[in-house]
C-alpha cells in the first residue's frame, strides 16, 4: 500500500507510523501547488493560442513535482523529464525559461548550473544515468549533493532505467529515483508496461529500497521523499520511490486520449486532486496563493507572447567550444544567403 498521510477528503490518516509535516511546510507546498496548477493550465492555453508548440501537462501530478523540488537543498540537483516543467519552476527556474523548449526558441532555456536543474530530457530514461554521474562526481569530491531523478512509468521499461539503477546501487550514488506512475505512457496503460506487482518492486533487483507513495498527497510525498533525500545524503545510497498519480489530461495537446481511455476513468481521479485535498486539510483561504499564481501566469503570458527573433549565428555557435572550419564555412554561407535575401527584399519592395 502506498504511503498516504492525508486522504482524498483532507483527513489525516491514522497510524501511519509517520509524522505529518509541519503546517508551515504544508502551506508552502500548497502555495506552490496552486501556482503549479495555474502554470500547467496557462501553458495548455498558450498552446491553443499558438504560443507554445506543444505542452505535456502535469495537471493532477503537481504534488509529485512540487515536492520533488521542495525536498532538495540548494546544492542538490534535479533531473526532470519533459513533463516536469513545474518541478523545474519550483526549483527556481524562470517559467519562461522553463518553457523555451516547448516554445521552440531553443532546446533548453535555462542555465543548468544556476539552480542545478538538468535540461528536460526527451529521450526516455536517458537522464537517469546522467543523474547517477552527477551524484557520483559529487560523492568523489566529498560534497553532500543529492540528486533527484524523475522518470515516468513508461520510462521504467527502457534499458537506461535498468543501467542507471544498477550503477547507482553499485556506486552507492546518492540518487533518489522518483517514478511518477500516472498510469499511462501516451496511450499505453501500466498493465501493458509491466507485470510487476508495483514499480517500487523494481528496486529489488538492484538492491535498492523501494517505496510507494500516494502521488496526490503532498504530505506523504514530503515525508517519503524527504526521508529518501536525507538517507542518500547520509551515505545510505540510492532509493526508488513510486508515486501513484494520474495524468488528468491527454499526453500533450496533440494527443486524443478518448481513443484509449474512458472519460469516467479520468473523472474518478478528480476526487483525488492533490490541491483540493491539501487545501481541505489546511482549511486555508486560497486567495492569497491565487494572487501569486496569477502573477506567474501573467509573467508566462508576457514572456511567451514576446517573439524572439532567431539569431542565425546561434545555429553554429554552440556545437563546439570553437567553431570547426567546416562550421565557419557553413555559417558564412548562411550569412551570405541572408544578406542576399535582404538585398532582394530591399530591391523588390
Amino acid at each position: 500500500m502506498p504511503v498516504t498521510l492525508i486522504d482524498a477528503d483532507g483527513h489525516p490518516v491514522p497510524e501511519t507510523g509517520r509524522a505529518l509535516p509541519d503546517e508551515a511546510t504544508l502551506r508552502r507546498a500548497l502555495a506552490s501547488l496552486i501556482t503549479a496548477r495555474r502554470l500547467n493550465d496557462q501553458a495548455y492555453a498558450l498552446v491553443r493560442q499558438g504560443r507554445l508548440a506543444v505542452y505535456p501537462s502535469s495537471h493532477g501530478q503537481e504534488a509529485c513535482q512540487v515536492v520533488a523540488a521542495q525536498v532538495l537543498a540548494d546544492g542538490d540537483w534535479l533531473f526532470p523529464t519533459y513533463r516536469d516543467t513545474v518541478a523545474v519552476v519550483e526549483r527556481g527556474v524562470d517559467p519562461v525559461e522553463a518553457l523555451t523548449l516547448l516554445k521552440g526558441d531553443w532546446h533548453c532555456g535555462w542555465d543548468p548550473y544556476e539552480h542545478r536543474v538538468a535540461p528536460h530530457a526527451t529521450p526516455l530514461a536517458t537522464q537517469l544515468p546522467h543523474a547517477v554521474g552527477v551524484a557520483h562526481a559529487a560523492r568523489l569530491r566529498g560534497e553532500p549533493t543529492v540528486v533527484m531523478a524523475l522518470c515516468g512509468d513508461g520510462g521504467t521499461s527502457e534499458g537506461d532505467f535498468h543501467e542507471a539503477l544498477n550503477f547507482a546501487a553499485v556506486l552507492r550514488a546518492p540518487v533518489v529515483f522518483l517514478i511518477q506512475n500516472n498510469e499511462y505512457a501516451i496511450s499505453v496503460p501500466l498493465a501493458r508496461q509491466t507485470a510487476a506487482p508495483s514499480l517500487a518492486h523494481k528496486g529489488v533487483g538492484y538492491g535498492i529500497p523501494g517505496e510507494r507513495v500516494d502521488g496526490n498527497d503532498a504530505a506523504a510525498l514530503l515525508s517519503v521523499l524527504g526521508e529518501a533525500v536525507e538517507r542518500a545524503r547520509a551515505g545510505g545510497g540510492p532509493q526508488l520511490v513510486e508515486a501513484h498519480t494520474y495524468r488528468m489530461q491527454a499526453h500533450t495537446n496533440a494527443d486524443d486520449a478518448t481513443r484509449y481511455r474512458a472519460d469516467a476513468d479520468v473523472e474518478a481521479w478528480v476526487a483525488r486532486d492533490p490541491i483540493a485535498r491539501l487545501s481541505a486539510y489546511l482549511r486555508v483561504d486560497e486567495t492569497a496563493y491565487r494572487e501569486q499564481a496569477e502573477r506567474v501566469a501573467e509573467h508566462v503570458r508576457d514572456g511567451l507572447n514576446r517573439d524572439v527573433e532567431p539569431d542565425p549565428a546561434q545555429l553554429f555557435a554552440h556545437v563546439y567550444a570553437t567553431e570547426t572550419p567546416q562550421l565557419r564555412e557553413q555559417a558564412a554561407q548562411l550569412t551570405d544567403e541572408l544578406d542576399r535575401s535582404l538585398d532582394d527584399e530591399g530591391a523588390l519592395r
Binding site: T122, G154, P312
Partner: protein, 328 residues
C-alpha cells in the same frame, strides 16, 4: 486496381492493412500502435480489424521491440515495427546493426529476417529536439539493411508493400512532413521495386538528386528554375540501399551537372555517397563538380530556426547557379 485520394499516412495504413489481409504472418507492434493507431495514425484501426495478436502495443523499449521482432522473424512471422520518432530508434541501434543487418550473413542464408522497421524521420514539422533527425546515413552505411524512403503516397503504399514482402530487413523511413500530403493512389499496383530510382521530372540543364522529404523541394526548385529559363531534371532515389546507379548516372550524364539535395547533415552522409559514386562513374561527363545542398553539420535546430537549416528552394537554386555555367 483501384484509385483513391490518400495522404501518405493513409496510404501507409492501407499498405499495412492490405499486407495483413494477404499474409497472416504479418504482425505490427510498437509503442502506441494499438488502440491509439500510432502518433501519426499510420496503424489506425489495425488492432480493431485484425485483433490484438496481429497489432499490439509493447512496453516502451525500442531495443526490446526490435529484438523481439528479430526473434519473431526467425520464427516464421513478418514483423513490422514502428519506432515512434527518428531519435527514438537509437536505443535499438545495437540490435539493428549487430543483428538485424547481420543475421542472414551470419548463418549463411539459413536465417532470414523478413522484417520492416518503420521510422518517421526528418524535420520540417516544427518538432522539438529528438523528433526531427535525418538518420538515414546510419542505416545506409550498415551492410545488410535495405533503406528506402518514399516521397509520394503512391510510393509509400508500393514501397511498404514491397518492404513487407521482402525476404530481408528493410529500414523504412517515412518523411514526417509528407504524412499529410495527398494524391490519387493506385492501390494494388507494383511500381518500380526496391532498388529503383525514378525520374520525377525531365530536364536538360542539370540534375537534382533527392529522396524522401527533399523531393518536393527539388521539384519546386525545378519549377522555379523553369520560369527562369533553366531546365532541371529531378531524380527521386526511393531506395537508398540498394542504390540505383543506372538511373542516377544516366540522368547525370544526360545533363552533365548535378546537385544533391538532402536534409541530413552533409558530413559522411548519403549525399556524400551520391557525390562520390556519381563522380567516380561520370567524371568525364561532368561540366562542374556535383554540389550538395544539405542540412548544416549541426544538431537539428529548434522549431524557430528550422527554416534557416533546411535545404530550401533558394539554396538549391544557388547551388545550381554555382555549377560553373560560364566559361572561366
Amino acid at each position: 486496381m483501384t484509385h483513391e485520394k490518400l495522404s501518405m499516412a493513409q496510404a501507409l495504413n492501407r499498405a499495412l492493412r492490405d499486407a495483413m489481409t494477404d499474409d497472416p504472418s504479418v504482425v505490427v507492434f510498437g509503442e502506441d500502435v494499438g488502440p491509439l493507431g500510432g502518433v501519426f495514425r499510420v496503424t489506425d484501426g489495425l488492432t480493431a480489424q485484425f485483433g490484438e495478436d496481429r497489432c499490439f502495443d509493447t512496453p516502451l523499449a525500442e531495443s526490446g521491440i526490435v529484438g523481439v521482432a528479430v526473434g519473431m522473424a526467425m520464427n516464421g512471422l513478418r514483423p513490422v515495427v514502428e519506432m515512434q520518432f527518428d531519435a527514438f530508434a537509437y536505443p535499438a541501434f545495437e540490435q539493428i546493426v549487430s543483428h538485424v543487418a547481420k543475421m542472414r550473413n551470419r548463418t549463411r542464408g539459413r536465417v532470414a529476417l523478413p522484417m520492416v522497421i518503420r521510422i518517421p524521420y526528418a524535420g520540417g514539422i516544427g518538432g522539438v529536439e529528438h523528433h526531427c533527425d535525418s538518420s538515414e546515413a546510419y542505416y545506409a552505411h550498415t551492410p545488410g539493411l535495405h533503406v528506402v524512403t518514399p516521397s509520394t503516397p503512391t510510393d509509400a503504399y508500393a514501397l511498404l508493400r514491397e518492404s513487407i514482402a521482402s525476404p530481408d530487413p528493410v529500414v523504412f523511413l517515412e518523411p514526417k512532413k509528407l504524412y499529410w500530403s495527398k494524391e490519387e493512389v493506385e492501390l494494388g499496383t507494383r511500381p518500380p521495386a526496391i532498388g529503383r530510382a525514378v525520374v520525377r521530372r525531365e530536364g536538360t540543364d542539370a540534375t537534382l538528386i533527392a529522396y524522401g522529404p527533399s523531393v518536393p523541394i527539388a521539384l519546386e526548385a525545378a519549377e522555379v528554375a523553369d520560369r527562369e529559363g533553366r531546365s532541371l531534371q529531378v531524380v527521386d532515389l526511393r531506395s537508398i540501399v540498394p542504390f540505383d546507379d543506372e538511373t542516377v548516372c544516366a540522368a547525370v550524364r544526360s545533363t552533365g551537372r548535378a546537385v544533391v539535395v538532402a536534409e541530413a547533415a552533409g558530413f559522411a552522409s548519403v549525399s556524400s555517397e551520391i557525390v562520390a559514386r556519381v563522380t567516380e562513374r561520370c567524371f568525364h561527363s561532368l561540366a562542374a563538380p556535383i554540389r550538395r545542398v544539405t542540412g548544416f553539420d549541426i544538431p537539428y535546430p529548434p522549431p524557430k530556426y528550422e527554416h534557416l537549416h533546411l535545404p530550401g528552394v533558394d539554396r538549391v537554386l544557388d547551388a545550381v547557379d554555382d555549377l560553373q555555367w560560364e566559361d572561366s
